[in-house]
Symmetry: C2
Subunit: 205 residues, 2 copies
């Protein structure tokens, strides 16, 4: 019984991996179930044995990479001895994640307003995980006594995340390019660091 499930799980993993590569390189709408099946040398019907439909497959992949992302964050965020480094780490990891998976998220841009609820669930989960991690970092810093006590750490971190998102969006949209070029990456990064700097100073005594 356990062996069977192991086998199933391995196969599911392989499907997820192949799907991820396709989605990443060609986007959601330009990858077909046939192609994914072909990559794995299996029949398309088998994909439907493991996943109910294409969007569910996509969502499963998304759940996986979101999990990986959070794992990196969770495993390292507590290693920093000051809040700023923790924030900077989060910025870097998040930014790398977005850049690396940019094409994967074309599904988002494509369906813009009416994404399936499951997607929003994942987004929400990631967000609250980030929130909780960074929120803890803030609390830790407060207990170190380097910044003033914070009424509502969650609200504060939420605010910061939104603001950082603005830096990304602003830098990209004003240059009227849909995707940040290498040169912008530096600019964005610099700006984010600057914001973090001011923000944290704003929290100090």
């Amino acid at each position: 019984m356990a062996a069977v499930n192991d086998h199933q799980d391995i196969k599911r993993e392989k499907i997820l991996e192949a799907s991820y590569q396709r989605f990443l390189h060609y986007g959601y709408s330009k990858t077909t179930m046939n192609e994914i099946a072909g990559d794995l040398s299996m029949s398309k019907a088998l994909l439907y044995y493991y996943f109910p439909d294409k969007s569910q497959l996509y969502i499963a992949v998304m759940r996986k990479i979101a999990g990986d992302y959070l794992t990196v964050l969770e495993e390292n965020i507590n290693a920093f001895t000051n809040l700023k480094d923790a924030f900077v780490f989060q910025i870097n990891v998040h930014h790398d994640f977005i850049v690396k998976n940019y094409n994967f998220f074309d599904f988002f841009r494509l369906n813009e307003q009416n994404l399936p609820d499951t997607i929003w669930e994942i987004v929400g989960q990631v967000h609250s995980a980030e929130l909780s991690l960074l929120s803890n970092a803030v609390k830790t810093e407060v207990s170190r006594g380097t910044i003033k006590p914070v009424d509502n750490p969650d609200e504060l971190v939420d605010l910061l995340l939104d603001a950082l998102h603005g830096i990304r969006v602003g830098a990209v949209s004003q240059k009227k390019t849909s995707f940040p070029r290498k040169e912008h990456l530096e600019e964005i990064h610099t700006k984010k660091l600057l914001l973090i700097d001011i923000f944290i100073k704003g929290l100090m005594y």
Copy 2:
């Protein structure tokens, strides 16, 4: 000669006003030149006498409302005796502007990536005007001695504007609604105030 130009200007103004109403209520693509002409009881051909084509007409309207927006800002931004109030004022005016003209900007959402250069010019002009106004406010505040000297006020204000933009976007996109509802307006406003508050504290001694 002057009278003739006056007359022309008045007519152009009327056309701009009628066009604005149409664009505002029905968006760019669902407004026809015939309708605008009809509203003004003039022939469509006359519109083409005053404006080279539809997109130029749209751009002229945009230039006008952008000018009005900047005028409000310019005329009031110096009346405040502290930086925070100035920033808050900018937030409010900008937010009202976006909300009021939301439908007008469907042209942006529609053409997403490839907007005519002229549009970007206007956007750029508005942005640098805002930048310069707020930048001055920062300098004034520095000279008052309540905040630390700032290396590059423009860069700083640019950063803040991006961050504020993030608050707008974040609050809207995460609620998976394309347009802020009344309840969100308050939330966004509160968040912006909070950000401003921390940001300014971050600038203080």
